[in-house]
């Protein structure tokens, strides 16, 4: 009879663990189904309220037909707003009510004359209560334009131009350059878009649950007596630890890769440069495995370990921004957030997706490796007690 080498023994234990986890479906549920479902739900929900990537279709009811209004329709250029002639007030109301327009802006009769006289300018907006964001955008757009026209008129008159010329200048300036800046506030530029953010956030949140099936199952095996059997087998104890660690790593990597690919192709998430994403995933999985190993070594029973790991995973997830960007809250929360692997993983992804070179992930990747190294070292010092019968 031959002898099983330490590496082969570790692989045998990993293969056995993975077979068990696939059979009871627990790993598939925690590592893939749950994060995917939550990422989809949160991504879709948040996207529905996001103004950043939408184009707003506004109508224009020009009752003035004067110089102050002439440049208005051209001011929408370069903004995520399209302006179209909505004809009469009644027609504009019908278009807004039917949803064909997000809102309509009414340039009142006598707008130019009122401007000439320096009277307050009032531009009305027709909105639909069900489309509050569209109404808000139209209101902001109209207010900003009215204020801008008044500024130009006042300035021109101060420089000696007559009222008619001043209003004309205002119209020309308005048409030459958009006075209103509704910049693309889509999170795809500086931040992750909602779909990508929640796909990544849920992936890293559930990663901490997925890796528990490996290293912390040592306590389960001790409770069930199978650890004694492995300890009595002619294999070194480090093979048992190695096998369990590899189970954690395999489940973590599989979970993250499946989620990245699924959300990329099914939800349209933009994870960024695959090489950089891959490196971040590996570092995050190592960090999650090390944190899990450390918490497991502090517990005496499998039940205790499961309870503690759940608490640690949820707290780290919340602080790390898996549910909302805690780091932007400022103060202590920002500092605490920086202590979590979640925050560094998401930060690395944000840097990658904003078009940065691969070098942008060096800092977050290093921090993740430091967390993995520190927690892993303490866990190794304590883990001997886990492999006793």
């Amino acid at each position: 009879m031959g002898r099983t080498g330490p590496v082969r023994a570790a692989f045998l234990i990993t293969a056995k663990d993975l077979r068990q986890r696939l059979r009871d479906r627990s790993a598939v549920l925690v590592a893939v189904v749950a994060p995917l479902a939550l990422a989809f739900a949160l991504g879709v929900t948040i996207t529905g309220f996001s103004a950043g990537s939408q184009t707003f279709h506004l109508g224009l009811v020009d009752l003035d037909h004067g110089p102050a209004a002439s440049g208005f329709s051209r001011t929408a250029k370069g903004t995520p707003v399209t302006l179209r002639d909505a004809g009469t007030l009644a027609h504009a109301r019908r278009l807004v009510k039917s949803g064909k327009l997000d809102a309509a802006i009414v340039l009142p009769r006598g707008l130019s004359a009122a401007t000439l006289g320096g009277a307050p300018v009032r531009i009305d907006v027709i909105g639909d209560p069900k489309n509050s964001i569209g109404t808000l955008v139209a209101r902001s757009f109209a207010d900003s334009y009215a204020s801008y026209v008044r500024t130009i008129v006042v300035a021109s008159r101060a420089l000696g131009a007559d009222s008619a010329t001043a209003v004309k200048i205002a119209g020309e300036v308005g048409s030459a350059k958009s006075p209103i800046s509704l910049g693309d506030v889509s999170t795809t530029k500086k931040n992750l878009d909602p779909k990508t953010y929640y796909a990544a956030a849920m992936a890293v949140f559930f990663l901490f649950f997925a890796v528990q099936f490996g290293i912390s199952s040592l306590l389960n095996e001790r409770g069930e007596g199978t650890l004694s059997r492995m300890l009595a087998a002619p294999i070194p104890r480090r093979s048992i630890l190695g096998g369990k660690a590899m189970t954690s790593l395999a489940l973590g990597l599989t979970s993250m890769i499946v989620l990245a690919l699924t959300t990329r192709y099914a939800l349209g998430a933009h994870w960024g440069n695959p090489l950089g994403v891959g490196a971040l995933i590996v570092c995050a999985v190592l960090a999650a495995t090390a944190v899990t190993a450390l918490v497991t070594t502090l517990a005496k029973t499998a039940e205790q370990a499961n309870a503690w790991l759940s608490i640690v995973s949820v707290v780290l997830g919340m602080l790390g921004g898996s549910f909302f960007p805690v780091a932007q809250a400022g103060g202590v929360l920002t500092i605490l957030s920086k202590l979590t692997p979640h925050a560094w993983f998401l930060s690395g992804l944000q840097d990658l997706s904003s078009g940065g070179a691969l070098s942008v992930i060096v800092q977050p990747a290093l921090v993740l490796l430091v967390i993995a190294g520190a927690c892993g070292a303490v866990a190794l010092l304590r883990i001997r007690r886990l492999i006793e019968p």
Binding site: L12, P234, R237
Partner: protein, 303 residues
């Protein structure tokens, strides 16, 4: 071997030898130190002092080679319930160094031995308690070890499965495997073991064959005759038989203390019958390991 857990001295200078093909029983109540002792022998625990040598090799928790000579069957069911019997056996056989065709062959053989061939591809969680116990033992047999260690393998098992387990152990012993068997059931120790070590509070109180241990008591068989008629006369007549040490009359019975009751029982019955006693029933109480344990420790085996 000695082993302490904090203030508790779990094993105190326990020493014994088992020859190839011999069945050795460690008999003692719960908490006597049996499991700690075999945990050291199986390489699960390190002894504080002393050593275990198996098949010529010193055994520690790190001695991989020596562990190859040992098959270990823990007291608790140490099987993966969500794996099939074949998967359980295959996994452990590979840990013990079997591979490829040899693994399949040996797994099939063991499935046959433990009577699970027909259910080999069902998950263990669907098995009865007895089937799980048999699988638990089967894993210990996979690599045909020189020494098979069984830690109370029949605890919580129904009588039928218990009998099947005992028969399996008897067969393995007959095939030349050394067996170290712990139990707190006196009947199992008497039935299975060539020699028995009586252990209590971490100390090996005595060891030897059943006869050697019983001889420590210096006691004889008790014969209890229930009957009617001339009981006094019957008792006097029995007292004249050489093997009968004492004879007394009880409540509608005669009590005899006899050396080797089975050899003279027929003579006793004839004698009392001739003395005018009508015998309704006979009971013979032989001194057993339970009595030996009581004698050595001052308490019953099941205390």
């Amino acid at each position: 071997m000695c082993k302490r857990f904090g203030e508790i001295e779990a094993v105190r200078a326990v020493s014994f030898e088992i020859a190839p093909g011999e069945s050795y029983g460690l008999l003692g109540p719960n908490g006597a130190g049996k499991t700690t002792t075999i945990s050291i022998v199986a390489g699960l625990l390190e002894a504080d002092a002393g050593e275990a040598i198996v098949a010529g090799q010193r055994l520690t928790t790190k001695s991989v080679a020596a562990k190859s000579a040992i098959g270990f069957v823990p007291q608790d069911l140490a099987i993966y319930l969500d794996l099939t019997a074949r998967e359980n056996l295959t996994f452990f056989s590979r840990l013990y160094g079997l591979s490829g065709k040899k693994t399949r062959q040996r797994v099939d053989e063991v499935l046959e031995i433990i009577g699970l061939s027909e259910r080999s591809d069902d998950q263990a969680k669907t098995y009865s308690g007895g089937m799980k116990r048999r699988l638990n033992i089967g894993i210990g047999l996979l690599h045909a070890p020189s020494l098979l260690i069984l830690d109370e393998p029949t605890v919580g098992v129904d009588p039928q499965s218990r009998n099947a387990i005992l028969e399996s152990v008897e067969q393995l012993s007959e095939q030349g495997m050394a067996v170290l068997y712990t139990t707190h059931y006196m009947e199992e120790a008497e039935r299975l073991c060539d020699r028995v070590g009586i252990i209590d509070r971490g100390e090996l109180k005595a060891e030897g064959t059943r006869e050697e241990l019983v001889a420590l008591l210096g006691e004889h068989d008790k014969v209890h005759l229930v009957g009617s008629g001339h009981l006094e006369a019957g008792a006097k007549a029995c007292a004249n038989i050489a093997a009968v040490q004492t004879a007394s009359v009880g409540d509608e019975s005669i009590e005899l203390l006899v050396e080797g009751a089975s050899a003279v029982l027929a003579q006793i019955l004839t004698t009392v019958s001739e003395a005018g006693v009508s015998v309704h029933s006979v009971e013979v109480d032989e001194p057993n390991l339970e009595a030996v344990f009581l004698h050595l420790t001052g308490r019953a085996l099941r205390d």
